[in-house]
């Protein structure tokens, strides 16, 4: 899930010009789960803007529940076919969703002006209905085979691949007492699994070219092609 948090209303309003007409778009998947852009928050945002003297032409969080705003064909259909007039009247779109959602609205509206209503904070695990944690940095070159599935790029503040720095104290990271040392988490987990030997080999420097943005992925039922400045990689899911 793409974790998002709404920007403070004062900040959102600051970027809307006097007389600018706004259409509010939410996301019924990740932002809904983050209470940052589901049906309720989208409707509420329309009211919060109206209360502040901003003209809102309409609002929607393209549904059903679980539908992602970043699914372009669906978002285009909802905005352009179901909200045609309200969209036409709008000077801009305020998006309550992640950065991918913002771009989806640009595409869906053939280049409409957009305002981000949220900060996209990380890709996370929904540990409970009210708690989301980050375990993956979307680097494009997964190295968690040798760490028991725990990512040092994400869990270690210094992204160290060959073991911890000397700064951990009582199991927490030198950067933040509230945060466990990622390497101690990895060590304890592998110790429990009886697989500490996984840590023995030298891990070479990371291939950062796979982490260069923007990247694309072409998918089909039989194979996928990942494209970064590191080159194209095609993998079959059939052989």
């Amino acid at each position: 899930m793409h974790a998002t948090i709404q920007k403070p209303i004062g900040e959102i309003v600051k970027h809307i010009k006097s007389g600018e007409k706004v259409f509010v778009v939410g996301c019924n998947n990740c932002a809904w789960k983050c209470y940052s852009g589901g049906d309720d928050e989208t409707k509420m945002m329309a009211k919060r803007l109206t209360d502040r003297g901003i003209e809102v032409t309409g609002y929607t969080a393209p549904g059903p529940k679980g539908m992602s705003l970043c699914k372009l064909d669906h978002t285009r259909k909802v905005l352009m076919e179901e909200h045609t007039d309200e969209v036409k009247k709008a000077d801009s779109f305020l998006i309550l969703g992640c950065g991918q959602g913002v771009h989806t609205v640009i595409d869906a509206t053939d280049g409409g002006m957009v305002h981000p209503g949220c900060d996209t904070v990380f890709g996370g695990e929904t540990v409970s209905d009210t708690h989301i944690e980050e375990y993956c940095s979307l680097c494009g070159d997964c190295i968690i085979e040798f760490t028991g599935g725990l990512c040092p790029i994400t869990l270690c503040a210094k992204q160290l691949l060959n073991g911890p720095c000397g700064g951990a104290e009582n199991g927490h990271c030198e950067v933040d007492e509230e945060r466990p040392c990622g390497w101690i988490l990895i060590y304890e987990r592998l110790k429990k699994l009886g697989r500490l030997e996984l840590l023995d080999p030298y891990q070479p420097a990371k291939k950062n070219s796979k982490w260069s943005r923007p990247r694309t992925l072409e998918v089909s039922p039989t194979e996928a092609t990942f494209c970064s400045i590191g080159g194209k990689v095609t993998v079959s899911n059939q052989d």
């Binding site: 210094k158 060959n162 911890p164 950067v175 891990q203 070479p204 990371k206």
Partner: protein, 303 residues
């Protein structure tokens, strides 16, 4: 002169440490920066002087410029190089530059995190970790860069690394130490140690590596400093006995007491190690006293 030459001869290697100034070196060559003045005070007593690299992530004069200044003054520098502020291109380029400017010893380390310093909104680099940095440096010694391209005029420096004997679980530190040795580390300087028992336990576990170790000593100057380190510096623990003892004398005697305590501690553990790395944090003038209390012959360099 490479420190490895001294270790090979069986010398007990003594190093000190200075931090570059926050500012530029004066263009008037007759005005030495504070770090060079401190290093000059240490010079008669130590074999070499570490020069820290934006220590604690606080922006300062570059460690290379300060190292070169020491070298010009006839003091052997140990140039510290961290992964925090440079990617692999910059690290290799700086290593080649350091060698080209006459540096013989480099301490290769990860570096404190940006969050501990005075530029908290900077982008932390950490393109490599310290093991990868050492491995890459070894490549430059053998004639190729990290991408596998040949280089001309290979560098030839002694590679030092760090280890923290206080770390828990110690097995993880030792695993990383082993990786550093495999990668090409030739000697170690430890994080500050205050506990003989912890250190002894650590040494027993790493003796098999047969790699020279200098025990790290941070001079405890005041009881306040001990409490501050316990609260704010991860990876270092100052036992209450130390804090109580330095606090048992009047302020005017702190220096004398600090030298006695550090010296006494070194005396207890010197047989376990191949050298000592003293971090006097500005109190460079007490280093001779420390060595005397430790009953260690000063390096006695000639200028």
């Amino acid at each position: 002169m490479k420190l490895t030459t001294l270790f090979d001869k069986g010398e007990f290697v003594i190093t000190g440490e200075v931090g570059p100034i926050k500012g530029a070196i004066h263009r008037d060559k007759s005005i030495e920066p504070t770090c060079a003045i401190e290093a000059l005070q240490l010079h008669q007593h130590v074999h070499a002087v570490n020069v820290t690299d934006n220590q604690s992530a606080v922006m300062r004069l570059g460690s290379l410029a300060a190292s070169v200044r020491l070298k010009t003054n006839g003091i052997e520098p140990v140039y510290q190089l961290t992964c925090r502020d440079r990617n692999r291109l910059a690290l290799q380029s700086d290593l080649l530059t350091a060698y080209s400017l006459g540096i013989d010893n480099v301490l290769l380390l990860t570096g404190d995190h940006i969050q501990l310093g005075d530029h908290k909104e900077a982008k932390p680099v950490f393109d490599l970790d310290s093991v990868q940095l050492i491995d890459m440096a070894k490549g430059l010694k053998r004639g190729y860069d990290i991408s596998g391209s040949r280089i001309e005029n290979y560098l030839d420096m002694a590679f030092g690394a760090v280890v923290n004997p206080n770390s828990d679980p110690i097995e993880l530190q030792i695993m990383k130490m082993r990786k550093k040795i495999d990668a090409g580390a030739q000697f170690f300087q430890t994080q500050a140690v205050y506990d003989v028992k912890i250190f002894e336990k650590f040494i027993k576990k790493v003796e098999r590596f047969n790699c020279p170790i200098q025990v790290g000593i941070v001079v405890l100057k005041t009881p306040q400093m001990g409490r501050f380190m316990n609260k704010n510096i991860s990876g270092i623990h100052v036992p209450d006995e130390w804090i109580d003892e330095i606090g048992s004398v009047g302020k005017e005697d702190y220096k004398k007491k600090a030298a006695e305590m550090a010296g006494r501690f070194i005396k207890k553990i010197k047989s376990m190690v191949q050298g000592v790395h003293i971090m006097p944090l500005g109190w460079t003038d007490i280093v001779p006293d420390i060595l005397e209390h430790a009953q260690i012959k000063p390096a006695n360099n000639k200028r």
